[in-house]
């Protein structure tokens, strides 16, 4: 999977590349408008991470160029502006998602996973990982032949884990995934334990591979 990280803050771009690299994505970076434009014109990416404020131009016009060329690369806008109109405009022009800075890398990874999945022309819409299969349309989860009934939040968490396999996910990252940016209004996210515990229990009942590990009581890991 090829990803282009268009982000003028080099440190942040490097961190993203580092995190996504460990998830087996191949990343390229562009720190300014001209480089980004060149790369977009020359190559095809599975997903493009697009910062809106770039030296040399507005990220939004890169999106316009991309859509004008009828390219189907997935685009996720990552912006510090967190302005509603940017979000609406971006999604209207054809971005697939919008993520406001600051974000957890795990959240970004989950979004990329979701965008790429949607872009793949798989008519069955089936996400398969070892013995676990997830029908993304009907939201039915099966382990081998057993159907597992999950709540919406448990289902969200499962997809989040699969999108971040082998990464350690902090409680606050999980809380933010479930509660959006309202999560930072609270300093206790104990409800995350309950959801993860339930998910684990339900998966254990149908004896899955036991991929979901607890790390020191502070985080979780979907270990493959």
């Amino acid at each position: 999977m090829k990803i282009l990280v268009i982000e003028d803050e080099k440190e942040l771009a490097l961190d993203i590349v580092s995190y996504l690299g460990d998830l087996n994505y191949r990343c390229e970076t562009a720190h300014d408008f001209a480089t980004a434009k060149e790369k977009i014109n020359l190559y095809k990416y599975d997903c493009i991470l697009l910062d809106l404020m770039l030296p040399g131009g507005d990220g939004m016009s890169l999106l316009e160029i991309l859509r004008a060329q009828n390219k189907q690369d997935g685009v996720i806008i990552i912006s510090a502006k967190n302005a509603l109109e940017d979000k609406i405009k971006g999604l209207t022009i054809g971005a697939d998602d919008y993520l406001a800075k600051p974000f957890h890398h795990s959240e970004l990874a989950a979004r990329i996973h979701s965008v790429i999945r949607r872009k793949q022309f798989d008519p069955s819409n089936l996400l398969i990982q070892k013995e676990i299969s997830i029908d993304l349309l009907s939201k039915v989860v099966k382990v081998a032949e057993h159907t597992v009934t999950l709540t919406k939040k448990e289902y969200d968490l499962l997809l989040f884990f699969i999108g971040n396999k082998n990464r350690v996910l902090s409680k606050s990252a999980l809380a933010e995934h479930l509660s959006g940016d309202l999560a930072d209004m609270f300093d206790s996210h104990d409800f995350v334990y309950a959801h993860v515990k339930n998910l684990k229990k339900k998966l254990n009942e149908v004896s899955y591979g036991g991929y979901l590990k607890t790390i020191y009581g502070t985080g979780y890991k979907w270990e493959l």
Partner: protein, 426 residues
């Protein structure tokens, strides 16, 4: 508080009263003095005329005696009597109070005694004239003074009122303009020119002051916005680095917990920064869009994200949407308002407590159980944190207040029956 014009009015009135009171004895003394000296002159003149006339008549001694007797009987208030030669020739004046049988009252008389010579013989001439009684003079003067004083006061009041109306007109204008002035509107005040120098000067000074304030306010606003904007990148980097650090396989439990505990203040920093930016945006009229919103839907959406926190604290949540009226606001602002108030209530309600959201006709009520009333005056102020809790950004309610302001709503806080009640008049 007294009105500006009433102050000198009172002083003037008292001053006039004092002067008029002093004037009463002065008038009396002057009038009495004139009165007395006129009568003394008159008496002297009469004496001289009588002496002159009598010394010129050619009559015998018997006839003179008869004339004098007749004089003494018929001429009221005067007498001519024979005098021994040795008596003093000096005139003397005197004053006497005696009963006047004709007026049937006690009266004051001014008298003169002097020696006149008729046919070379000395006679004592005495004349007395009625002088106005002093208390009568006093009374008359007092009465006149009182009437004049009355006129003076009535005049003062009338003049005061009519002058006040005209003179203070430009001042009232200025005042009403200042009252309706809103610093946030970022538009200066322009006063109409007026004729009175002091007011014109006042207007100019106030105009200048307001322009200065507006410019400082603008600077401050953009400073806050710029500062929080500048903070975004370091915060994003911090979060990013922490995420990467968390992936390190050599972390021990203590380190892992440490990283987890850094997430909490970092989350708070993020929230404070976001809220500062949001406040700046609301204040600069960034959210002008209005739409009719289904409150139930917005509440449901908010609960989707906050429900876990309600369950975590075992809170009893009740909603009561009686009115199906739409709420008109910017969608984003309405969502923010609901989120802020709800998360506030969740944070501050003790485990097992109650949270109640009501939408009645024209009124939105958020209430939660609590032990004691909060300080009303600080509640909606920025960073006026009333608890020791660290997750609060100190801006949540300030934002709620600002949103209400933008939408023309009024928010009130009350503590009743062990419940904090925030009610918004839509």
């Amino acid at each position: 508080m007294t009105k500006l014009l009433d102050k000198p009015f009172k002083a003037f009135t008292i001053y006039a009263l004092i002067i008029l009171l002093i004037s009463i004895p002065i008038y009396f003394l002057v009038v009495d003095w004139i009165w007395v000296s006129e009568i003394d002159d008159h008496n002297l003149l009469t004496k001289n005329r009588v002496e002159d006339k009598l010394s010129k008549v050619q009559i015998s001694d018997e006839e003179l005696q008869l004339l004098l007797n007749t004089w003494n009987v018929l001429e009221p208030g005067s007498s001519i009597k024979e005098l021994a030669k040795s008596r003093s020739k000096e005139d003397s004046t005197y004053e006497v109070t005696k009963f006047d049988e004709y007026q049937n009252e006690t009266d004051r008389f001014r008298g003169l005694k002097g020696v006149i010579y008729i046919k070379g013989e000395p006679y004592l001439y005495a004349i007395e004239a009625n002088v106005e009684e002093s208390y009568e003079t006093m009374f008359a003067i007092g009465l006149v003074t009182a009437v004049l004083y009355g006129l003076l006061v009535v005049g003062f009041i009338t003049l005061n009122k009519s002058i006040a109306k005209q003179i203070w007109l430009p001042f009232d204008h200025t005042l009403s303009q200042l009252k309706s002035f809103d610093l946030k509107s970022s538009e200066g005040i322009h006063f109409e020119p007026c004729e009175i120098e002091e007011f014109e000067e006042l207007n100019e000074t106030v105009e200048k002051l307001i322009l200065q304030n507006i410019s400082i306010y603008k600077q401050q606003k953009s400073f806050i916005a710029n500062a929080s904007h500048e903070l975004q990148t370091p915060i994003a980097l911090l979060k990013s680095k922490l995420d990467l650090l968390f992936q390190n396989e050599n972390l021990n439990e203590a380190q892992s917990e440490l990283i987890q505990s850094i997430q909490i203040p970092l989350g708070r920093l993020t929230r404070v920064n976001k809220n500062l930016l949001l406040l700046a945006k609301i204040e600069s009229s960034h959210f002008e869009d209005r739409e009719q919103l289904d409150f139930a839907k917005i509440l449901k959406n908010s609960l989707h994200f906050l429900g876990d926190y309600i369950e975590e604290k075992n809170l009893e949540f009740k909603q009561e949407i009686q009115s199906d009226q739409a709420v008109t606001s910017s969608r984003f602002l309405m969502e923010t308002l609901v989120n802020n108030l709800l998360s506030n209530m969740i944070r501050h309600t003790a485990s097992g407590g109650k949270i109640h959201v009501k939408l009645l006709e024209g009124r939105l009520i958020f209430s939660n159980s609590g032990l004691g009333a909060l300080q009303k005056e600080f509640l909606f102020k920025r960073f006026a944190i009333s608890t020791t809790e660290t997750t609060s950004s100190g801006l949540g309610l300030a934002i709620v207040k600002e949103i209400c302001l933008v939408n023309g709503w009024e928010i009130h806080y009350n503590f009743e029956n062990f419940h904090h009640i925030f009610s918004i008049e839509l």
